[in-house]
């Protein structure tokens, strides 16, 4: 499903007349890629790690200093040790963002995650705030960014309550000269906690995209 959505988005981006897309938005990007994902779960003093590959897609649309950003990813992770059942990981994110300074962006929006195993689904829903700083290493070509986020509110269906979440991201973005193509390499760590439980998702993700950043 994610692949289909990504394909449709890319095709729309390519076939939209430039003039029309410029009227709609002066910022429009679409991208997608894959990530090596590591899920570390700590419950009742026991820690288990699971790993896998997930596919994701993201996009941004906006005008001036304001834009909306969305991301979706899906995949499965398997226990690193033993022969336990794999878990499907599905995650979605929607952010309203504003460029506060030329290098600083802040945003807020919902973030949902689901871990599905046969017979049950663990759900997390956060309302997050994000702060992102970006600095160019080579003007117009290569930049680095760092992002941290924290949940203002968090809900989970895991018994016990007291849910919270925070995390961070760092990475590089490379842009081809005189081309709307870009590539991105990032490391993301995201922790969700509730009473007696901690889940940490780490991703090293490589993506490529198209559009005016």
């Amino acid at each position: 499903m994610m692949r289909r959505a990504l394909c449709v988005s890319l095709i729309l981006c390519l076939i939209l007349p430039p003039g029309l897309s410029a009227q709609l938005a002066d910022k429009l990007t679409l991208g997608g890629g894959l990530a090596t994902t590591k899920l570390t779960t700590t419950a009742g003093g026991n820690t288990a790690t699971m790993s896998g590959v997930t596919l994701f897609g993201d996009g941004q649309i906006g005008k001036g200093r304001f834009w909306l950003a969305g991301a979706y990813r899906q995949g499965s992770v398997k226990p690193d040790v033993g022969a336990g059942a794999s878990q499907d990981l599905v995650e979605g994110l929607l952010l309203a963002q504003v460029r506060a300074l030329s290098w600083l962006t802040v945003g807020v929006g919902p973030h949902a995650r689901a871990l599905a195993v046969p017979g049950s689904t663990e759900q997390w829903v956060f309302i997050e705030g994000r702060v992102r700083g970006e600095q160019e290493i080579i003007t117009g070509r290569l930049s680095a960014h760092v992002q941290i986020h924290t949940a203002f509110t968090a809900h989970t269906n895991i018994p016990g309550g007291g849910a919270s979440g925070h995390g961070g991201e760092a990475g590089l973005t490379l842009r081809w000269a005189r081309s709307p193509i870009w590539a991105r390499l990032v490391y993301v760590v995201d922790r969700a906690s509730s009473t007696g439980n901690r889940e940490t998702v780490e991703d090293v993700a490589l993506s490529v995209g198209f559009g005016r950043p």
Partner: protein, 354 residues
């Protein structure tokens, strides 16, 4: 009173009468003289009529008869001479009238058939052409021409051409027969096809008899002025202040290095800061290495002068735009230099030397 004294007295009286009559004739204006001449002719007083009409025709300057009245005076004078049995004089007067206006015809209600018949005989035997041309003609483009109307007394051969006033042919416009009238056109070019230079020219029409001998020439002075169109001014040179810098001087390498290394450090430390108790994925060191390498690479790049592609593109667009304007002006000026605007002023028709 002796015989000689009587003679002297008679001579004196005659002188007084003659001088008095002459001075009366001289005192009247041309219109009055014409009216009296026509009245005398209608009253069959042909001698007086001839005197009045000749006096009217002799007026010049501001009191000269206008063209229409002059033609009328000549017609009445010719008829008067005819009735005075001066047939040759009548023919000479009619010739004079027809040379002035080949299209003139006597009014059948005023002049008897004998007069009309003589007039017709003179016209048939006369080979003369009158020229009518607009006082000012402008030739702005390939379709424009100087239009010349020719009116002939009778069917005969003519040559029409342009010559320099100082002598020398420029171009033959027409060679052939003319019946009643003919329109000829001149495009302002000489026989080689080039626009004629500014200067004084003559439009000459020669009438020929059947043997080819030139019997009469009529010419109109032409004053040609070649006016070339003004060229457009060149666009002002493109100011350097409009151009953006195309290269960035070396520097800023330290910031690039710090940024890359900071991104690497954050990536390395993120698990410890954000996920206490988790060792962190070893795969993240790919990002650590990439960020560190990017910082070093950026540091190295920034030590040297860098080109600024966006500025180069914008400057190129400005230069192209300026060059397009230059090319437009250049081609327009080239076209304008090739265009000549010709003004032809025609003078009064006159008889020329064959």
């Amino acid at each position: 009173m002796t015989h000689s004294r009587r003679n002297r007295a008679a001579l004196g009286m005659a002188m007084v009468v003659l001088l008095g009559g002459a001075s009366r004739l001289h005192a009247q204006n041309s219109a009055e003289l014409l009216a009296r001449g026509m009245r005398s002719s209608q009253n069959l007083d042909y001698d007086s009529a001839a005197s009045f009409l000749r006096a009217a025709l002799a007026k010049s300057g501001a009191d000269a008869l206008p063209d229409t009245s002059r033609n009328r005076a000549l017609m009445f004078l010719g008829a008067t001479e005819f009735f005075r049995d001066h047939r040759d004089s009548a023919a000479a007067v009619f010739t004079r009238l027809l040379v002035r206006n080949p299209r003139y015809r006597p009014d059948d209600l005023i002049f008897p058939p004998e007069v009309a018949s003589l007039f017709q005989d003179v016209r048939s035997g006369l080979r003369a052409v009158a020229i009518r041309v607009a006082p000012v003609t402008e030739i702005n483009g390939p379709g424009d021409r100087l239009a010349v109307e020719l009116y002939a007394t009778s069917l005969h051969e003519i040559n029409a051409g342009i010559t320099r006033a100082a002598g020398g042919p420029v171009r033959t416009i027409y060679h052939g027969a003319i019946g009643d009238s003919l329109q000829i056109l001149w495009d302002g070019r000489d026989s080689s096809g080039a626009i004629a230079d500014s200067g004084a020219y003559l439009l000459r029409v020669s009438s020929r008899d059947p043997s080819g001998r030139v019997t009469r020439v009529v010419e109109v002075p032409l004053d040609l002025r070649t006016v070339r169109r003004d060229t457009l001014p060149w666009p002002p040179p493109m100011s350097d202040s409009l151009l953006l810098p195309e290269q960035r001087p070396g520097g800023g390498g330290g910031r690039a290095l710090v940024t890359g290394l900071a991104a690497a450090a954050v990536t390395a430390l993120l698990p410890a800061v954000m996920a206490n108790g988790v060792s962190g994925s070893g795969t993240r060191f790919v990002v650590v290495a990439a960020a560190g390498a990017a910082g070093v690479f950026g540091f190295n790049i920034h030590r040297h002068t860098q080109s600024i592609p966006a500025n180069i593109a914008q400057n190129q667009a400005l230069r192209s735009n300026w060059q397009r304007r230059m090319d437009t002006v250049r081609s327009e000026n080239a076209a304008r230099r090739g265009e000549s605007h010709l003004v032809i002023r025609a003078g009064t028709s006159r008889e020329g030397r064959p």
